[in-house]
């Protein structure tokens, strides 16, 4: 008998009587004996208190980001979580409900999605946005396939800046191989930026850049959009640090055809990699090619405003073999988290948080530039938001190790996945890094030199 199984032994006997059966096993007669087992090879179940203790012990074997000054970024960022975000997320009406296919009893979920879509449009500068995708990496795949469809399958090449997150590019390679797209990688220049002049290709369906890039560098988005369009390709911007949109304009403002990426910074825990929150926004004229779910506004029979999922015919459950994507479940609860987080901060709060990130990052760059001892900014002239590359007296892996030994999670080694840039540490700074954190990092760096 288990608390999560609604019928106990007495109940079961009673119900079996009603069905005229002498045992439960009769109901499983259609399963061939050869595949059946008396029990699977797992230990017996345990009570809640025991399970909780066991898992807490496992959790204790991990070093958390808040336990030490930490400056890890590279696609996943630590930001302040207003307590009300988790309070809202914990409402059973939100987290134990299903996809809103019955709009009459899902207006809460649907309105949240509509608000999320609007916020993403406002921040990216694009006209329409979907209800979320799995994560930033798969959003890039979806954006590339989108571009391919918009150009009616006539161009099979994709130009991708090498400074799009290497993990994202690995995922793109996996999918591109499956669908027969050619991926051409464009390395950054010695200034850490992608040269728009290298982005002209009449065979490319799209040009994909990340800004701020994997190196933290802010790209020349207007020039990139122009270069892409001059060759008849779509321009796609990838964003991994969504808080950057509190200060920097999203690509929609510069005519980018799609802006996609990772919105984990908006109220979603780093969570050792997931679940996170992919987003996708594009121009309204291409809305029918957009992947994923979409909530739309309409009215009910009595003229009351209501929301429902719309353009579902693009999705797999109706179009089947011709669907625009095979996404079914998306990241609904994470989109709720982002919506609550953004609405809790408000427009001013997001801007203030972004400014805090910029100021702290700027201060840290200044102090590192003055450090000496083999430490230097790799791209001192490049504009950055809250992440930048530094080189030191050893390689990136070694630096990370030594600084960790000194109690600081200093950054991500920049050449974990290769790349046309120096071997150093990617350092990310957010509003969570108080002055004491900066002091600790600089002091630890000094001790390494």
């Amino acid at each position: 008998m288990h608390p999560w199984v609604g019928a106990g032994p007495d109940d079961r006997r009673h119900l079996l009587d009603e069905l005229g059966l002498d045992s439960l096993e009769r109901l499983f007669a259609t399963i061939p004996q050869e595949v059946c087992v008396d029990r699977v090879d797992l230990p017996p179940g345990q009570d809640e208190d025991t399970v909780q203790r066991a898992l807490a012990a496992v959790a204790d074997r991990n070093l958390t980001l808040s336990s030490h000054p930490s400056f890890l970024g590279a696609g996943v960022y630590r930001h302040i979580q207003p307590s009300l975000v988790d309070a809202v997320l914990s409402r059973a009406e939100f987290f134990t409900s299903y996809t809103p296919y019955q709009p009459e009893i899902s207006q809460g979920t649907l309105q949240v999605i509509f608000e999320f879509q609007t916020l993403i449009c406002q921040l990216t500068g694009c006209e329409v946005a979907n209800a979320s995708l799995y994560d930033g990496a798969t959003s890039v795949v979806e954006a590339v396939l989108f571009a391919h469809r918009v150009l009616r399958g006539k161009r099979n090449r994709v130009l991708v800046a090498q400074t799009v997150h290497p993990v994202y590019r690995t995922v793109l390679d996996t999918y591109a191989g499956a669908v027969g797209l050619e991926v051409v990688v464009v390395p950054p220049g010695s200034d850490g930026r992608t040269d728009p002049g290298r982005l002209r290709d009449e065979q490319a369906c799209c040009v994909v850049v990340q800004s701020p890039s994997f190196l933290g560098v802010v790209e020349d988005l207007p020039a990139i959009a122009e270069a892409a369009h001059a060759s008849g390709a779509l321009a796609v911007q990838v964003v991994t640090e969504a808080v950057s949109l509190g200060i920097l304009a999203g690509g929609g403002a510069f005519g980018f055809d799609a802006v996609c990426g990772e919105a984990q910074s908006f109220g979603v825990a780093p969570g050792f990699g997931g679940p996170h929150l992919g987003f996708f926004a594009c121009a309204e004229k291409n809305v029918r090619q957009m992947p994923g779910r979409l909530a739309g506004e309409t009215v009910d029979e009595e003229g009351r405003r209501a929301f429902c999922l719309t353009l579902s015919t693009r999705e797999q459950h109706i179009r089947r073999a011709k669907a625009t994507s095979n996404i079914c479940t998306n990241q609904g609860l994470m989109a709720l988290a982002a919506t609550v987080w953004l609405e809790a901060l408000g427009g001013s709060g997001l801007r203030d948080m972004a400014r805090s990130c910029l100021a702290r990052s700027h201060e840290l760059k200044r102090r590192i530039a003055e450090l000496g001892g083999g430490w230097r900014l790799s791209y001192p002239a490049a504009p950055t938001f809250n992440e930048f590359l530094v080189e030191g007296p050893a390689g990136g892996d070694e630096l990370a190790r030594r600084l960790a030994g000194d109690g600081v999670l200093a950054g991500v080694p920049s050449r974990r996945w290769g790349g046309n840039w120096p071997d150093g540490l990617l350092i990310a700074v957010t509003e969570c890094n108080r002055a004491a954190d900066l002091d600790a990092l600089v002091a630890a760096m000094r001790r390494v030199s």
Partner: protein
Amino acid sequence: MSVPNDLSYTRSHEWARVEGNLVVIGITHYAQDQLGEVVYVELPEVGLGANAGEELGTLESVKAVAEFMSPVAGEVVEVNDRLAEEPNLVNEDPYGDGWLVKISGSLEEDELLDAEAYKELLAEESH
């Protein structure tokens, strides 16, 4: 179900009518009824060449997407631009203002059904 006598039909529920050296194509009353209210029509580009039986475009309703085929081999000469703003014309007037595409080419009469044969097809399908 309305089945005008002066049109030719396909087994996939398109109708065809000759207009000079062009063939005008649409979907039948039965087809629009099955599909439900049309919310969007994806029409081919003018100039597109197609073989008989090839997909020209799609019709979307809330619950389904259906392709429509060309009954002839030829080139798309004109498409019904009104459908961008008024996709409902396909439901309201499937044989008239709800036409889809005009394509150059001639009808292979033996490949198509006349009104009687199409009515028989409908009778079979409803069983």
